[in-house]
């Protein structure tokens, strides 16, 4: 039998976290939930989650949906940190490339 490049599993199993050198950490106490990071993420690996954060700048913000980074796919490009208007995403060294 010949081999053909056909996969019986979803491409979701292809994690790209090991491509990462730095990882983004969101300081939720400063995050105003503008979702600019979500819009700019080139890998679509920022999810918008209801009650995704425990901290917020205000009581009203705490009730809003929050951005959560999927560390299985984040390649650490830093675009989210660069675009964040509140400067509340910090890129920190991620030596293992794993979350």
């Amino acid at each position: 039998m010949i081999m053909a490049p056909i996969a019986d599993v979803s491409s979701r199993v292809n994690h790209t976290d090991s491509w990462r050198i730095q990882k983004p950490i969101i300081d939720y106490s400063k995050c105003i939930r503008c979702m600019i990071c979500w819009k700019f993420c080139p890998d679509a690996c920022i999810d918008v989650v209801d009650g995704g954060a425990i901290a917020a700048p205000s009581e009203r913000t705490l009730k809003m949906e929050a951005p959560v980074i999927d560390m299985d796919y984040c390649k650490g490009c830093g675009i989210c940190a660069n675009e964040c208007p509140e400067k509340c995403i910090e890129m920190v060294l991620d030596e293992k490339g794993e979350d």
Binding site: M3, P5, A7, N14
Partner: protein, 399 residues
């Protein structure tokens, strides 16, 4: 009465006079191809024109789509073949070059597509005549390659091509070549095989891994360096090697069914007691054979080896065919810019360390320039001297 029906009756008499391109279209119809994608380019266009006519007249039950480029023509064939439908397209020259990326995809995905290519020179300068550089440039894409010598062979190669490509031991695409105008637009007598015999020879395509909406799979998806990437490439190479045996078997079956024997990967012409010979492919081999007959009449012990397949390259067959020769010449109607002839290079590589006969390379007939009897006499004479090297044939002094 509809025109198509009348034609069928003529066909059943088992002979017709038709151009190479018409013969190819008849082959595609007999192979019961279910999908054709088409983008026009001279000198291929009349193949897909004929197929369009057949589909419009209900002579061929196939889906026919016109696409916006050759890249899309091959992408469409890739998708339809993956859905389990026997698929076909045709192209030439710059169109084939534009298709290059998708050629790798089709072979890499192990899809047994058959495509016709009418060999035409590459620009610049602009030229539409016969030359094989376009397909020689595709020799590394994982496609099998057949160079036809007659309109009959062009028809028959479509039928044999699908049988070989769809073999479970091969599962690789195949391109079948005609020389521009010399075959594509020139009429010759052709025997049209009976449909029942063709159906028996070429069963329906059964693609084991075809797209199944109920059981979705990832096709050609991302594979990291430690995934089975290298293993897949090695397996493709193994299948290319296995195809030799399949080609021998299928040409044998074809000879038994249709009484026309193409003798596998190469054809040997008057090689029995030959002392020197020329290796050639396509219609130039016909002129070569004519000259071999002339030289034989003069008492020369000369023969000709016609390459039918360039991929897989018939290295063992050539090694055995030249074993009793004193010298061999290789004729390329193509040019590898910055290297020597494509075939000459492959022949030298096939003989390296196994045979020490001198190999003389010839480049001739570029851009459709005539290669005449005198040119062949020159080539045979130079080959006989056995001094090797690479020579241009019939190139004028430019002042």
């Amino acid at each position: 009465m509809r025109r198509g029906k009348i034609k069928m009756r003529v066909m059943q008499k088992h002979n017709a006079i038709m151009t190479g391109n018409e013969a190819v279209a008849v082959g595609v119809k007999l192979a019961r191809v279910g999908f054709v994608s088409a983008y026009p380019i001279t000198p291929q266009t009349t193949i897909v024109e004929k197929l369009a006519e057949m589909v419009a007249n209900d002579d061929l039950d196939a889906k026919y789509i016109e696409v916006e480029s050759e890249h899309s023509a091959m992408a469409a064939v890739f998708a339809s073949e993956l859905a389990g439908v026997r698929s076909y397209t045709a192209t030439s020259s710059h169109g084939l070059l534009y298709m290059h990326e998708m050629l790798h995809w089709t072979a890499g995905q192990r899809l047994p597509v058959v495509m016709s290519v009418v060999n035409r020179a590459l620009g610049p300068p602009w030229n539409i005549w016969s030359e094989q550089t376009d397909t020689m440039n595709q020799k590394d894409t994982g496609w099998m390659q057949v160079y036809c010598e007659s309109n009959q062979e062009a028809l028959d190669t479509i039928l044999m091509g699908y049988r070989i490509a769809e073999s479970q031991d091969v599962m690789l695409p195949l391109m079948s070549m005609e020389d521009a105008f010399i075959l594509s637009h020139t009429s010759e007598p052709v025997i049209i095989p009976e449909q029942e015999k063709v159906d028996e020879f070429l069963p329906k395509l059964d693609l084991k891994f075809r797209i199944d909406l109920k059981n979705p799979m990832g096709y050609g998806s991302y594979t990291p360096p430690d995934g089975p990437f290298m293993e897949l490439k090695k397996d493709l190479m193994e299948s290319m090697k296995n195809s030799r045996e399949v080609i021998q078997k299928v040409t044998g079956d074809f000879a038994r069914t249709f009484d026309r024997d193409y003798s596998g990967l190469i054809e040997q012409y008057r090689m029995d007691d030959a002392k020197y010979a020329l290796i050639a492919s396509g219609t130039l081999a016909s002129t070569g054979k004519y000259v071999v007959n002339q030289l034989r009449d003069e008492g020369e012990k000369v023969g000709l080896i016609r390459l039918r397949f360039f991929r897989p390259f018939p290295d063992e067959e050539i090694l055995s065919a030249v074993s009793n020769l004193e010298s061999v010449g290789v004729l390329d109607r193509s040019i590898s810019l910055a290297a020597n002839g494509f075939t000459a290079t492959e022949v030298r590589s096939a003989l390296y360390g196994k045979s020490d006969i001198p190999v003389t390379g010839f480049t001739a007939g570029l851009g459709g320039r005539d290669v005449r009897i005198d040119d062949f006499l020159d080539m045979f004479k130079t080959t006989k001297k056995g001094k090797g090297g690479n020579h241009y044939i019939n190139v004028k002094e430019v002042k």
